[in-house]
Symmetry: C2
């Protein structure tokens, strides 16, 4: 049993557990009360705030505890935007922020604000210069994560913070993934984080607002936490969160554990493409979180892959459309322009044994192979996979090939080509069907895939790029869209 | 050491502690994930929701967990108001709601909504008929607590719910104080509660929205908890909250503990006025929470009283202005028109021993006497208190008596009376100074108290009513206000 999804939630750190137990008896009372139980609770809260502020790199009076990282982000974004309302109403954020930032931005937009999305490169990083160029006189706030939660890529926060400082624009850093590994450098203005990402208990987020940053808390007034987070303080959890962050930092500062996990991740990055055909490892190989790696497997249904890995004793996560309740592929992978199908995120908790990683590398190839086999991936396409003609129904059925509809506003290039009707089929079927027929058209000919699965928009171009085929473009169809591919090889 | 402030926060119930410990190891993972740790967390969350829903008296799919009772109220009020926006924008709430409701109402008003405050009688109760009469075609929502947090008085929730149902207006019940003692009866639409009030851990609130109630969650979108409460679920705390609520209900249903605490409170209600002169026990003596009683002591500084009780080993709370950081007296006591000075709220936790209550009754008279002595209360006014002439400076100084200012727009009645300048003096000094000089004017003569302490507005009329003197009224003064009292006895 190996839990490799620390980026979702880390198991409770032993120090957190111990601190939680101790403070259940000492920290349950209302810290606003003057009697002994209240004073005791206040002392614990103050001490936790000092410890957390030290780990964040801010003053204790700049830091409040919130009930979650999500709420820290929501409160930080809305409070900073409201305080800057007279300066401007434009919010800038990277295209790969956590959904908490994106949802806060949606609220801002619905209330009449505007926003600009900062593009990322294929590794998932924004260019600091481009952020600087986007800053305008009406920019109210910039949001940038310290490191990406899906692919691990670190952002140039320090440079962006300097450019923001120069332009007198506040920068909010979502440090949810990186905070256990070290403080966020630079002159950021606001910072949000989440304790359950570092082995603290659930129920604790951090919001730091540095002095000199204008801030106007939104929502109903509440006296607690400097008016920045409503509701009775969760002191036992806050104490546990601060204690475990301090303990992790003590470990991280020696660098041993971070370096060890970094080596394990390097091993996965190196071995997976060797062991599994048609895999793309994504994210920056060097400027990244120590414990996290993501790869995508062609011709694989992400949900089936996760299920098989779970059966084999590995708990991993996926940004693949197939496992998301929203049926849209990860906005992070989309913004990077990389394959989303068969996506696997491995994020190692503290203390992961090397043997667990080795076992994962042993198990993974066979798991991918078996999923591909069940999907009827053509043998020629997936090196080690065998075609399973005559096995499962949908896997062996030939795709319907029809003439392109007359007057369908064609882009010109696909006349005379094949049309594959993948309507109603979910990822990765459209890509598999494309792969099956590409050999049937002559070099220079086209295949048009009709698909109403949102993932096709991302994965068909990604397949072309991985396979050396030409992605011609997409056009609207009666249902879904028509994606045109020209055979090059 | 006796902790008598369960209404602020109850110590962790042993069942909550046990459930919390067990679920720290089982419930830390993300319940939205499909791997084993996620499925295990989901099972715990689902079971907790079922148990809590049963205790609330709703369906599991009608109930979500929030990070606090405050946030449950905020989310409930904003979501119900937003969904009813087209019907109307008028919010009705009692004058004695918890500040969480009042602050949510302020946000509604700031956004262009209107609100109406439902008056209470001297026991703190609204009249159901008056609520019914206040319902109009533009009423979007009614908020009514099940029982008051400061004085314990139960509200006629069932009758009000029936009237609301008839008028097709949703009713939100803040059940924070009453839920451990039993489900809220009647056809309410929304209900909010807070686990740390019943010995559950901090960090858990409940929000129930019954089917058929229109509801539009406000704030940034979040997929968790049916989109009604943002942020990662705090499953260990939720499990502990549900387990302890079920355990308490099992006890409450036998009625033993509730009945036992009710008898202890009856004893306090009966004995305090016998033991301490010039005390007003407030709130409904019968239709009340079993464990809570509030009384106010004339000529006492609430903060000093709480401090002395803390020294004597009793942790109690106060709605007195003197202990509040806002320097305004409790809005609950003000709405009831009762004395706010020297206010003490006793709320007994489960399992409070009779001996603790007896010791409190032994200690209280001497504590009140000593506070009064230090404040220089005239012996004639406070039966058992002795005047302490020549002791502390401010306590023995005679109040300045000056002629009323010419052309001060007098109400006519006070000409020729005494004027007491209590400007800059905090409660209970203005009332003490009034009491000291009332004997110096002839029956029919007046004393005018100049005061800029907000509590005087409430406590001078309350003193008149307790002392059989006539409260003539107040008028604006250069600083603060002038309160006019006519000697009747």
């Amino acid at each position: 049993m190996s839990y490799f999804d620390a980026a979702s939630a880390a198991p409770l750190h032993p120090v957190a557990r111990e601190a939680l137990l101790a403070s259940l008896d000492e920290g349950w009372a209302d810290p606003a009360r003057l009697y002994r139980e209240g004073r005791r609770a206040r002392l614990l809260l103050d001490a936790a705030r000092e410890a957390a502020a030290e780990a964040v790199g801010c003053r204790p009076d700049e830091l409040v505890f919130t009930p979650s990282g999500t709420q820290a982000v929501h409160a930080g974004v809305s409070g900073a935007l409201a305080a800057r309302r007279r300066v401007g109403r434009r919010l800038l954020h990277s295209a790969v922020e956590h959904s908490a930032v994106l949802h806060a931005a949606e609220v801002h937009e619905a209330a009449g604000g505007t926003r600009g999305e900062l593009a990322v490169d294929r590794t998932g990083r924004v260019a600091a210069g481009e952020v600087g160029a986007a800053l305008g006189p009406d920019t109210a706030l910039v949001c940038l994560q310290s490191a990406n939660h899906e692919v691990g890529t670190e952002q140039p926060v320090e440079e962006v913070a300097a450019l923001c400082r120069e332009a007198d624009v506040p920068l909010l850093v979502d440090a949810a993934q990186s905070l256990p590994w070290g403080p966020v450098p630079g002159a950021w203005s606001l910072l949000a984080a989440s304790a359950h990402k570092w082995g603290g208990p659930p129920g604790v987020g951090l919001l730091a607002v540095r002095k000199g940053t204008r801030f106007a808390p939104q929502g109903p007034h509440d006296e607690r936490e400097s008016g920045r987070s409503a509701g009775f303080e969760n002191i036992p959890a806050v104490v546990a969160a601060a204690a475990s962050l301090r303990a992790l930092r003590a470990g991280a500062e020696t660098g041993d554990e971070a370096a060890r996990l970094r080596r394990l991740v390097d091993r996965i990055r190196e071995r997976v493409p060797q062991l599994v055909p048609d895999v793309e490892v994504v994210g920056d190989p060097v400027h990244r979180l120590p414990h996290l790696v993501t790869f995508s497997c062609l011709y694989v249904d992400g949900e089936a892959l996760l299920h098989e890995l779970d059966r084999a004793g590995f708990s991993v996560s996926s940004g693949s459309s197939c496992t998301s309740s929203t049926l849209t592929p990860s906005h992070v992978l989309r913004a990077m322009g990389v394959l989303s199908e068969g996506n696997v995120r491995v994020s190692l908790p503290y203390g992961t044994a090397e043997a667990e990683v080795e076992r994962f590398l042993e198990v993974l190839p066979q798991v991918v192979r078996s999923v591909r086999e069940r999907l009827g991936v053509p043998a020629a396409e997936a090196g080690t996979a065998r075609a399973t003609a005559g096995e499962a129904g949908h896997a062996t059925r030939e795709p319907e090939a029809v003439e392109p509809a007359a007057g369908s506003g064609g882009s010109g290039g696909e006349s005379g080509g094949l049309v594959v009707d993948s309507l109603g089929k979910r990822c990765p079927i459209p890509v598999i069907e494309l792969a099956k027929v590409i050999g049937e058209v002559p070099v220079g000919g086209t295949v048009t895939v009709l698909s109403d699965d949102e993932a096709a928009r991302q994965d068909i171009p990604a397949w072309c790029s991985m396979r050396g085929q030409e992605y011609v473009g997409e056009r609207a169809a009666e249902r879904g869209a028509a994606y045109v591919v020209r055979r090059r090889a």
